[in-house]
Amino acid sequence: MLRLETRPQPSKAMSFASPLIALAITVVVGVVLFLILGKDPLAGLRMFFVEPVKNLYGLAELSVKATPLILIALGLAVCYRSNVWNIGAEGQYIFGALGGGWIAMQAGPGTEWMGQGYVVLILLGGVLAGMFWAAVVALLRDRFNANEILVSLMLVYVATLLLSWLVSGPWQDPNGHGFPQTITFLAQTKLPRLVQGLRAHIGLVVALVAVACFWVFMFRTYRGFALQVGGLAPAAARYAGFSARSALWVSLLLSGAMAGLAGALETAGPLGQLTTFVPVGYGFAAIIVAYVGRLHPVGIIFSGFLMSMFYIGGELAQSRLGLPKALTGVFQGLLLFALLACDTLIFYRVRWRSAPAAPPTSNISSTAAAVAKGA
């Protein structure tokens, strides 16, 4: 029967092959699903992998979708590497939209002198609002030991309901015939576009800059190093004097800031107003993006674009082939499942054994593997 044998050393080859294998598994299942639905599997695959990147318009749309995913995932990567489980990025995203949106709504004749620079204020507002919402989680964990997974998750609901109340009540467009939405933001607040006529906006540039900054932070600064050690080997970190408390605050504030930034970018960019449809699940999808990207800034760019292809491909498959939109969720979940399963191949070898189990492997390598895995 099949047995899993711990490798003496984690396999580097597998650690980058594993996302590809996971993707391959997802594609195979996808083909099977297309066949079951009676649609041409090649056409289906084309919708997901070719159409979205076919031309400049497609790439622009892809970047619009990928930007928030990448931004949020960057922050989450820091969190997860530090063993802080922020699941509430969606709520921090909403708060970022609220903060940025509120500033956008203040734009008027009095702010015209700022020109497009007003956008910077909007983004700043989003960052601060997102940080605030994450700070609540950090505070409750710091002072009261409250599990950050559940707190951050509950706060997502609170944020969603707050948004709903604001756009139906105090922030409602007085000329909007009672619909739950704010005014359409003035032209001054619109994010500058990268290419005339396409929806790609400076958010993409912001995201790429953020990737570079995060890379530097995580792999070239002392702080970043301390955070990661804290996640991998908490006891060693304590011994070295790295403060778990500051790791908590830094990672939560950072991820809150990134999620808030993403929210503000979406609101001032593609949306142009606040509605009850601001939360679209980016905060949760970004978790998958972070994992598939190996919690590494460069990897996150790829996984961000991959997830966007799933989103947009799913839309196209629906509108052009009549395939159900639910496929997108199936593929995303499947990708992560497959990835998690394939990841074990990094630490374990699959062996065919007819004899009973091999003697237990030594303590040290398996504990190290365990700690590394658990992070």
Binding site: N147, L150, M154, Y157, W165, F284, V330, G333, S366
Partner: protein
Amino acid sequence: MDGLELLIAASLNAGTALAIAGIGLLINERAGILNLGAEGLMLVAAIAGFAVAVHSNPWLAFAAGMAAGALLAACFGLLVIWLNTNQVATGLALSIFGSGLSAFVGIPYVSEKLGEQAQFKIPFLGDIPFIGPALFRQHPMVYIAMALVAALAWFLYRTRAGLVLRAIGESPESAHALGYPVRRIRMMAVLAGGAMCGLAGAYISVIYTPLWIEGMVAGKGWIALALTTFATWRPARVLLGAYLFGGVTMLQFYFQARGVHVPSEFLAMLPYLATVVVLVLISRNASWIRANMPASLGKPFFPGS
């Protein structure tokens, strides 16, 4: 307050699905497994149950829901227990996959309807003024939920097997040293928990809102997760918490129907804020939380380490 007994009845009804899912998650967490995929499990079970109910009766539908929940939970268990994947990430993947799968499978069932729904009343008890309509005119599953909670409490605190389960949740290494098959027991806990979540999901689509629409569980899986913490991992408190949460859900409509002008969004926020408050209260004393929360919750277990 007129209609209070009906509000109570509605709260019981609304809380039942939460209670059943809550004890399923409780079983998981007592064994040390954090299953964030509850929402996905419930959705898949909901469509499984609904699909079966369209062609036969609700009881078979419940069984189908339980089976679907257990099956999906088995995949989760395999990854998390035997391959030691990260529980949080795997649970989330399960959630997202489950909601996508259920939406996908459920497409042909969107316009289906189930047969005539029976009205239940416990004879004699159901006629007592006030208490009758409040407590004794529910679907049998409501009472089954209460029985399940009692059974679980008995199992956890009065049987050997329950003790072993709790021990595994506190220190799987010690249990392993004592010779217990930790992983197998955890897997059984995951399967049982999955079946419970499945039952809750089937209840929602077959009895509570006899329709299928994608996403119809509407976050109840996440609330059930919060419930276990809210209840400090004790079965009876899970039941109470579930009814409270169910009550708050119905309260917003109760107020509206009476012209009380509280923004419904704030009422809807109450269950979540309440959970956060409870979390804070029980966690702030580190030794309290140690006494209550299964110590190995969320951590991977490696036999031989």
